[in-house]
């Protein structure tokens, strides 16, 4: 009897041990299960060197995180493609959106809520408040990680400046000067002295807003659906009349008035444009996708009017996660964001690693940007990679010296794209009709924008 009890006890212990070991090994297998994430990579048309630089980063990340497989997919932000990809469930796990759209997407729950994950990061509290606000919904949920910020800037062709008898180290500092330079470049070189985006894909309205900011204007007051549209302020009228004068009186804008973001960059890189406005960080695109000759490149801060509220409109990029991502995949997505977008801004080894990969693949290092955390941290990160900087930094001095003296303001917060879209036809009318009634057109645009704001579109 005793022996049979002993046998039963042994059996029970053996079974228990088997269960424990089995459960442990199952749990271990679970933790090691490989997670695959699709991540937004480079724009279509990027050079082979740029592709390799990205692939090198992927390989390093996978080495450091053996249970995560990263699948890069070509990606360029596009509002139209986003809606289609979202509807079809074809968004990458991690992708990027401009400041312009992030909050609106977050309010509509079209990107994942990553509050818990981001708050665990040691550097979370170091984000500039205005910057992290761009990725925070009205309910305080974090829906993205801002990783790059820029200020709108004046990009100019140093070669055309020289040909027109202008000093390429002294870009215009007032709008009157800019207008004069544009006319001079146009008359002496035959190229467009100044060009501006004019397609009604919201880019025409975006740049018109930028110019209005430099004169002291804003497109709305207040927040959310209660904001008041102010598109028809005297500052916007002034901005559009300035454009009208350059287009019709000076004839200094060339013959193309339907540029959009990529086409104006390509035309600039091809030497067809003397000056134009775009984000301060476009040098990378110009080199990677538009084959820019670095020798011709110059960048300066935008001229500001002597007005109390005159300032530079800022913008930037935010890494976000597709809305249906959960569990291990969400963790993997956050680890990728931390590795690829953030570490280089905050940790010296990561900054050096990133710079080395970029240089090895002949990619730009040291492109002018704006601090995500604070100016001290920004300068520190730049000092780590000083020996790797390969952009024509001397040619960028006018911008680097001037930009931190200017006030940077965020884009209109409510229904941003709809506000720009309402302005598009007004800019186009100015380009198309020398008798365009700017004030009347802006009054109509203001009504359209106000309706969109009220409806939260």
């Amino acid at each position: 009897m005793k022996s049979s009890f002993r046998a039963i006890r042994l059996l029970v212990v053996a079974a228990a041990l088997f269960l424990v070991v089995g459960a442990a090994s199952l749990a271990n297998a679970g933790s090691q299960a490989k997670v695959t994430i699709n991540v937004a990579a480079l724009r279509p048309g990027s050079s082979a060197d740029a592709q390799k630089q990205f692939d090198d980063n992927v390989a390093l990340f996978e080495k450091q995180h053996p249970n995560i497989a990263v699948k890069p997919v070509e990606y360029a932000w596009n509002g139209a493609t986003f809606a289609a990809q979202l509807a079809a469930g074809r968004l990458p796990t991690v992708f990027t959106v401009p400041f312009t759209d992030a909050r609106t997407l977050g309010e509509h729950r079209q990107v994942a809520d990553i509050t818990a994950g981001v708050k665990k990061w040691a550097y979370y509290k170091k984000f500039q408040k205005t910057i992290i606000a761009e990725a925070t919904t009205s309910k305080g949920r974090i829906i993205g990680v801002p990783y790059a910020a820029y200020a709108q800037a004046l990009h100019y062709n140093r070669q055309l400046f020289k040909q027109a008898g202008l000093d390429p180290n002294k870009p215009p500092t007032t709008w009157a000067q800019l207008r004069k330079y544009a006319k001079q470049i146009s008359q002496r070189t035959g190229a467009a002295g100044y060009a501006q985006m004019g397609l009604n894909d919201n880019t025409a309205g975006w740049i018109a807003t930028t110019v209005a900011y430099t004169l002291g204007g804003r497109m709305e007051q207040g927040r959310g659906a209660n904001a008041t549209a102010t598109l028809n302020s005297p500052f916007t009228v002034q901005a559009l009349n300035l454009l009208k004068q350059m287009r019709w009186t000076d004839k200094s804008m060339g013959s193309t008035f339907d540029y959009t973001w990529p086409t104006i960059n390509q035309a600039f890189a091809a030497g067809k444009i003397g000056m134009f406005i775009n984000g301060s960080d476009i040098y990378t695109f110009l080199v990677q996708a538009a084959n820019l000759d670095p020798k011709i490149y110059g960048i300066a801060p935008l001229p500001l009017a002597k007005q109390k509220n005159a300032g530079v409109m800022g913008g930037g990029s935010i890494a976000v996660v597709r809305p249906d991502t959960k569990g291990a995949k969400l963790n993997a997505a956050l680890q990728w964001i931390d590795f690829f977008y953030m570490e280089k801004l905050i940790k010296k080894p990561a900054a050096l690693r990133d710079a080395r990969i970029l240089v090895a693949n002949q990619q730009p290092v040291g492109v002018p940007a704006f601090p995500i955390f604070n100016k001290v941290q920004y300068d520190r990160a730049n000092s780590w990679i000083k020996s790797y900087i390969n952009v024509p930094i001397k040619q960028m001095n006018p911008f680097l010296k001037g930009i931190f003296k200017q006030n940077l303001y965020p884009e209109p917060a409510a229904s941003t794209q709809s506000v720009y879209h309402a302005l598009d036809p007004v800019v186009q009318a100015v380009f198309a009709d020398k008798n365009a009634n700017v004030s009347a057109l802006l009054a109509q645009a203001n009504d359209v924008a106000q309706k969109a704001i009220r409806e939260g579109k």
Binding site: A87, L105, H108, R109, Q110, T256, D258, S418, Q428
Partner: protein, 326 residues
């Protein structure tokens, strides 16, 4: 049906030398009988068509109707909003702009696009030696991919600087350069010219086939009566191909009411909404805003266009029934 009668119900039978139709007698339905008569084969033949139509036509149409009554953020389940999307579209000032622009495009396309292929077809049909070569040349633009065609016109013909082809020619006469696509006055006609060039080839071939079927004896008889070319065209050709002309007219109206490619690729609806058409507005509702909350309005406007075109087609067919040859 009388048992053993070899004549089926509904088939004509000869009574007293005249064929009369025997009234159909409704018998009891027998599945076995149905199978024996080839019912299964009929279903088998129809099935692929039914599946394809259900998947690619009827289901999307039903979804469109449902979507037009809903609002969605593309993530959460959609919610019902009744006719709100239709009201939003009708209250949108851009709707009237798009409607007027579409009507303008249709009118211009009718003025250019309807007679030009007919004239070309008549001229080609009169040519005896190189008819094949002329037909191929007329059809050539159709085989060029539409996007390539638009890019060709945009960057070669309509290039706004003095190096554009049209501007170069005008430059010889000290005119221009003109921004063909950048002026509210010339943008829409510019789109119509390219559209006519791109699409006329198919119409020419259809007219040519119709012209070839006209009995040559009619022309010979007209010649004997002393008719000149114009009288032959007016009194012989047009009446003989009027059925094809009417169908092509209707198809042209339906096609131009749905114009999208040209305004989308050339101008995105600009400048200042001068080329914004109804279908481009549908696109803007659905995809113009990154949050895609306008899918309901896009579906509502699509449905409105479809219903209008269906009613137009019915009325057109009814009004032209007496002229039609079919």
């Amino acid at each position: 049906m009388i048992s053993g009668d070899s004549t089926r119900a509904g088939e004509p039978v000869a009574i007293g030398g005249a064929a009369v139709t025997r009234p159909r007698v409704r018998g009891r339905f027998s599945p076995l009988d149905w199978v024996r008569r080839g019912g299964l084969s009929a279903v088998a033949f129809a099935l692929p068509m039914l599946v394809i139509f259900t998947a690619f036509s009827w289901y999307p149409i039903t979804r469109l109707v449902v979507l037009s009554l809903q609002t969605t953020n593309l993530v959460d389940p959609p919610s019902w909003v009744g006719l709100q999307n239709f009201r939003d579209v009708l209250n949108d000032p851009l709707f009237m702009t798009a409607l007027k622009n579409t009507a303008y495009f249709a009118l211009l396309a009718l003025l250019f696009g309807f007679p030009i292929p007919l004239i070309a077809a008549v001229l080609i049909s009169e040519s005896r030696r190189f008819r094949g070569a002329y037909s191929a040349l007329a059809y050539l633009p159709v085989v060029i991919p539409p996007v390539v065609g638009v890019m060709l016109w945009r960057y070669v013909f309509y290039e706004p600087s003095s190096v554009g082809l049209f501007n170069t020619v005008l430059g010889w006469f000290h005119m221009g350069p003109y921004g063909w696509l950048q002026s509210t006055g010339t943008a829409m006609p510019a789109l119509v010219v390219e559209s006519t060039w791109a699409n006329a080839g198919t119409t020419v071939i259809i007219y040519l086939a119709a012209l070839m079927s006209v009995d040559r004896d009619l022309y010979d008889a007209a010649s004997v009566d002393g008719a000149n070319l114009w009288r032959k065209v007016w009194h012989v050709t047009v009446p003989q191909i009027r059925g094809v002309l009417l169908v092509m007219f209707m198809l042209q109206i339906i096609g131009t009411a749905q114009v999208f490619l040209e305004p989308y690729l050339f101008t995105s609806g600009g400048p200042a909404n001068a080329t914004l058409t109804l279908l481009l507005l549908v696109y803007q509702y659905a995809f113009g805003n990154s949050i895609g909350v306008g899918f309901g309005q896009a579906a509502a406007l699509s449905l409105m266009v479809a219903v209008f075109l269906a009613i137009f087609s019915l009325v057109f067919l009814r009004l032209t029934r007496s002229w039609s040859t079919t």
